[in-house]
Symmetry: D2
């Protein structure tokens, strides 16, 4: 669909509450960061996830896959690269790369969401304005 | 209002994700446990918070106060004692005591909620069935 | 390795804090439930993850994969089936199935962990007592 | 102790995962934001909480008190004003005010922490460099 890469880099600081007894960023926080990444990617393209939700289309997650390569620690300033990997039918796919300040790759991931009607909770075609926004 | 104490004891196991770099249960998790405590107190009296919400009354939190006396650790089996401390006007107040398996008091707390109309988000009188349930 | 299936069923009640604006259990909570599942599987086999950690072996997560099929809601009583899917070299793999009270399959998942030395943070062979425990 | 006000303003964007079924920022997230607030206040004064922890002094929380005045919503850009309210004996106290983009006051709060030896978990005097840093 898209010709050039549609991506965004978001800075995220690791919170103390997000670490665990091992002293590292807990693995269940990565999907939360990924969600922040797609929020910011959408904002950088002039729209918001909130706007989509208010227009009656929600985006529940269908699949999450994360590979953990190196740990992150409290107060680390991470760079999350979010890439729109594809819109295919009712599916919206993002891929992720997470780096620390030393530019080490900490994790990679993919998240697939389903365009869903907010009332019926049934899959729907993506809003036209949305696909157009990302097809320029 | 109530003659005898209205309380409930809930067992809660500390999850790994809920600990932090200090190796202890993170302080922001205590309000989550307290919320579980009032959910279970209500269930033990034959109703549910979900039922109240579906009847159009929600209970946003107005104040949380927690005193932390001793740390809890991953996999500790805690006993949370939740007490209905009072219904006064639009306010519903619970008090809490959290114990570990050695019966050490780990924390005390209070949470005040406001009976609120789910649509207007304005304070409302508590549903009659609710006050009657706890006044026997 | 194992002859018969090594699995455990854990009951988990959805907390209010774990839901989101869509009114459903947030997707990032599933890995937290999975972690609780393997904690309880280990306990049902007479050991604890805490015991392993105290013996100097930690288990950071290497991969998480979750498929979301149907939403869960606040106060739902879920059944999480955790299965030890394999120990291979330094890797420990669990698979998951999550059901609601109507026995609908809500999600499936897999989590791979790495046996890791708590001090050096390098991969290590699994403790012998651990592999023996699950090979009977 | 301090002559002029020691405070810092931190911008925090509400994450989707932090909202609940009521569609508002869950109340248990506020202490997490407050923790981020004191992390950033310390950084703005040229030190880090991490540095303190690595010097052998940790700061477990002794009391949290939060008043919730107005709800916050997903994607709101909040301003958290963190003020160092006092160092007294082994206690360190911060006060908080949280605002939305319309400058509405959403919440106020206080958090008291205890200077604690990381090994013995006993209260200790605050490090001299710390008190000096904030007494100029």
């Amino acid at each position: 669909m898209q010709k050039s890469e549609i991506s965004h880099e978001t800075l995220i600081r690791v919170r103390y509450a997000e670490t665990d007894t091992m002293g590292i960023l807990h693995h269940a926080v990565y999907p939360v960061y990924f969600e922040e990444g797609r929020t910011e990617l959408m904002r950088s393209f002039g729209t918001t996830y909130d706007a989509m939700e208010k227009s009656g289309v929600i985006l529940p997650v269908y699949n999450v896959n994360v590979n953990f390569l190196r740990p992150a620690y409290y107060d680390d300033l991470l760079t999350l690269k979010t890439t729109l990997a594809g819109i295919k039918g009712v599916r919206l796919r993002f891929s992720y790369e997470l780096f620390n300040e030393e530019k080490n790759l900490l994790a990679t991931g993919e998240v697939t969401l389903i365009f869903t009607d907010a009332k019926s909770f049934k899959p729907v075609r993506p809003p036209q304005w949305f696909t157009e926004l990302f097809s320029k």
